[in-house]
Amino acid sequence: MAEVVIIDYGMGNIHSVYKAVKNVLDKNSNVKVSTSFKDIKNSSHIILPGQGAVGSCMNNISQVFDLDEFKNHITKKPFLGICMGLQAVMSFSEEDEGVQCLDVITGKVTGFKSLGKNLKIPHMGWNKVEHTSNHNIWQDIENHSYFYFVHSYYVEPEDPKVVLGTTNYGKKFTSIIQKNSMIASQFHPEKSSKNGLQFLKNFLNWEGDIE
């Protein structure tokens, strides 16, 4: 039984996430889109989606929430950050001439552009995720399965222990992290067909790991 809250802070297509979660929920569970602390407090699982640029993302979050209180809430129970929701939990992003992020996971966000190769940006389409550690989030998902990506920046966490999976695009980059009750993916499970739905199902069955 899960009470899922998807945080709507005006950054992109939350409807896809809502529809995908709804598709995998069991009949005793509920999902709602909300920005209220009350809903976040009463939830069992939190999802922070998001697309677009990090500057407006952090700006929108700080307009809707008190940041300290927000950080407090999202580190207390199973949390899934998706795409911008991953980049937002890092310390700092180099996008938009440098933006301070939530700093729940130590590390920075940097652009594919700086690799200087002849890469098409955004990294858009289906790419493989290599599992770098065993975790319940990978239940019934084969190693090196394809997930859907669309992003121009990627995360570089300082602690290699938080890395759950990597992907190759110009270089091997971290495409999913996990620390305590927080999981955050660069790919979009809500757009990744069968594997993505299984991933969301696994998240809803997860109660968070205690260090």
Binding site: H15, K19, L119, K120, H123, G125, G196
Partner: protein, 254 residues
């Protein structure tokens, strides 16, 4: 680079129904968009594009309803285009469940529209659709709008560079010379554009055989191929296309 080349079936939608027809002639009802989209997802299509060809403006709202219904049941990227002319149009389609929206004539008429929209939505959800024909005298490609009826005289290469600079996340490049002919993509055009922009390019117009799709990717350097009739008429399944590409060394998602 491990990102797979995408195979994108395109569905023409008229007032909420999938229709088949060639060059706006003999248009026939071909079914329910939800059922057809589900089948394409099941067959491992990497994305689905809906092109709204509803002629009357008032009936265009039907596409919103269609996108909503498909997005309830299909969990791969959905791209929607046809008659999109403002931020409100884009916003409504994204809200209904589209992931990307294509903009064509409206952007040619007012290029700032691309900047205006992508500043609000991010570049990932705007696809610039560019319809071109070759001018055999000048040996250059010219941009056409309004379903190919209006020649703008604009140079396709310059326009492609411009839409990239203005913030489009992707280019859907259609050769009007090849569209509907099944004679193969315009490889020269594709290669010219794809090699000179840093955003993904989707090849469209001319798919008739498996070799055509392969050539668009290998010779034309396309990041994705879009096709309508070969999938509509079940000439090939998506699996057949992917198997063929794989045997020629193209990375595809299976």
């Amino acid at each position: 680079m491990d990102v797979a080349k995408r195979i994108i079936p395109c569905l023409d939608i008229d007032q909420g129904r999938v229709v088949k027809g060639t060059k706006f002639k003999e248009i026939k009802d071909a079914g329910d968009p939800v059922e057809i989209a589900k089948r394409y997802d099941y067959e491992n299509a990497d994305e689905i594009t809906f092109l709204d060809i509803t002629a009357t403006h008032e009936k265009r709202k039907a596409i919103i309803d269609t996108v909503e219904k498909v997005a309830e049941e299909v969990f791969i990227p959905l791209t929607v285009g046809g008659g999109v002319s403002s931020f409100v149009d884009v916003h409504n389609l994204l809200n209904a469940g589209a992931d990307k929206v294509t903009i064509n004539s409206a952007a040619v008429e007012n290029p700032n529209l691309i900047n205006e929209i992508t500043n609000k939505t991010g570049r990932q959800c705007i696809v610039a659709a560019i319809d071109v024909k070759k001018n055999n005298q000048t040996q250059t490609w010219e941009v056409f709008t309004h379903g190919g009826r209006k020649n703008t005289g604009n140079d396709a290469f310059k326009w492609a560079k411009d839409v990239e600079k203005r913030g489009a996340g992707e280019i859907l490049l259609t050769s009007m010379d090849r569209d509907g002919t099944k004679q193969g993509f315009d490889i020269e055009l594709l290669n010219l554009i794809s090699s000179n922009v840093n955003i993904p390019v989707i090849a469209s117009g001319g798919a008739g055989s498996l070799d055509h799709l392969k050539d668009a990717i290998i010779l034309g350097k396309a990041d994705a191929v879009l096709a309508a009739s070969i999938f509509h008429y079940s000439i090939f399944t998506i699996k057949e296309v992917k198997d063929y590409l794989k045997t020629h060394g193209v990375l595809v998602r299976e």
